[in-house]
């Protein structure tokens, strides 16, 4: 029986991992390109999830349109904060941006609770039974969720590696001064970056809202996990973020078969410490040289 449990835990871990890979990607892109850990990531997700709830309940829009709206509005939100705040902090220490991002997180969340209150909402999708293969169960909804996540991830990689815009983004990530000197419009790269980040946060938030329930703390609670996964994968590495997230969520799910489930976060924390001890640059990260 043990292998059935293992298989189920792994499947569950992969689905959650893929889903959370979207915001993890958002964190790692900002961390790599704009050089600070964006603590508002989680609450951007929450914003996305609530947008769908609002679109469905207030405007009675179909789910697909609601999701599109959530992605677009979260992207706009992210852009707004870039335009107002992060843009001014580009030349300051990353600490400034980090602290400000926490302020943004509080502002976004409290704005949501001001209008939507503290109670839970759900994004209703029809519930379907799982396909059962001798006890190994796959839920079709999970497959859709994973599918959407994978599509978004593939698109990112195409954007980063196949387009001139992606090349410019990677150049800025490598060395902002050099990129600026070689004529890259860093501002435009940043705008693209924050738009993409908002888009992913929105989409990730919606998917979590579909899988779980929509609460004001939905995204904030995930923040630590996101950061840990990004460091595990190597800061600034998109593929690393995905691998890191998958490693995390799968090992967490498997671990909770034996150790008390409550120690999930502790487990993440110690895994993080271990990685930092043995391989500070993470799985796919690069060493940053001193100039």
């Amino acid at each position: 029986m043990i292998w059935v449990d293992l298989a189920n835990a792994t499947i569950n871990g992969i689905v959650i991992g893929l889903l959370l890979a979207l915001p993890a990607l958002a964190v790692t892109l900002v961390f790599g390109i704009a050089r600070f850990p964006n603590a508002a990531t989680g609450d951007f997700m929450t914003f996305g999830a609530y947008t769908v709830v609002a679109a469905k309940s207030l405007l009675a829009l179909p789910l697909a349109i609601g999701v599109a709206m959530a992605c677009a509005l979260t992207a706009l939100l992210s852009l707004f904060f870039y335009w107002w705040v992060f843009r001014a902090l580009v030349r300051r220490s990353p600490v400034a941006s980090l602290i400000v991002s926490i302020g943004i997180a509080l502002v976004v969340r409290s704005t949501i609770t001001f209008f939507a209150g503290q109670s839970q909402y759900t994004i209703e999708v029809p519930l379907v039974r799982a396909w059962n293969f001798d006890g190994v169960r796959i839920v079709p909804t999970d497959l859709y969720i994973a599918g959407v996540a994978v599509t978004a991830l593939v698109l990112t990689f195409c954007l980063l590696h196949l387009t001139p815009l992606g090349r410019r983004m990677r150049a800025v990530a490598d060395n902002m001064e050099l990129a600026r000197a070689s004529g890259i419009n860093v501002g435009r790269v940043m705008i693209t970056l924050f738009a993409i980040v908002g888009f992913y946060c929105g989409l990730g938030g919606v998917l979590i809202g579909i899988k779980a329930v929509v609460l004001p703390e939905l995204g904030w609670e995930l923040l630590l996990l996101l950061f840990a996964a990004v460091i595990l994968g190597g800061i600034g590495s998109p593929l690393g973020a995905i691998i890191g997230m998958l490693v995390f969520s799968v090992s967490q799910e498997i671990a909770s078969l034996w150790v008390g489930a409550s120690y999930k976060i502790v487990f993440a924390f110690f895994l993080l410490l271990g990685v930092l001890l043995l391989r500070p640059q993470g799985i796919l990260g690069k060493v940053r040289a001193v100039r």
Binding site: K286, V287, A289, V290, R291
Partner: protein
Amino acid sequence: MALLSVHDLSAHFGAFTAFEHITFDLEQGSLTGLIGSNGAGKSTLFSAITGYLTPTSGQVLFAGTEVGRYAIEQRVRLGLTRTFQVPREFSGLTVFQNLMAAAPNQDGENLRSLVFAQGKVRQQERDNAERARGILDFLKLDKLASERASSLSGGQKKLLELGRVLMLEPRCIMLDEPFAGVNPVLIQELSNRIKDLHARGIALFVIEHDLTSLSRLVPKLYAMDRGRMIAEGAPEHVLKDPKVREAYMGGVI
């Protein structure tokens, strides 16, 4: 025996080669220059020698000790010091405090001594202050002693950085582009100070783009190109080397 001996040192980052098969010696009390175009690997070589990054292979011997596995601060304690291309002053401290912070082996850095050996700490502070004032006089920074380091000009910051290194009583100073961004008057000043230090028996290794100033300063030059050492010898000799002319300025000089 050479003071600093670099043997077959290479550094690769993934597919990229910063430098490879670098071998050279620096004698006690020598004054040597290192030239090369942008990206030739000079600064990276400095970083590898002083411990800021780990080379892929090869050895670094300082005063007879293999220091390849030493942390930066351990190398500094042996007397192997450096300055930076972009000055790294302690912006929140005054010029004087910048030097005081550099004083080595201070008991006052130890919390226990701060409580139990206050007399000793105070005595050390007085001694260090005296040395710091001496160095500020030597660098002609004495008038700026109580200015915030962040308010200095670029050239003054380079002097300050040199001053901090001098507080360490080093045996070898590696200067990374000391003249970059410094006005001509101050360049002359800096050159004189470097010569003075040379006269005191400190070994100096200087990366510099200002070839005129450098060749006037040093009796010996190394030249690097694309991660390799391509020439060494007297400045007039090295600068005429066709390989150097080719690599350095596309043959213009």
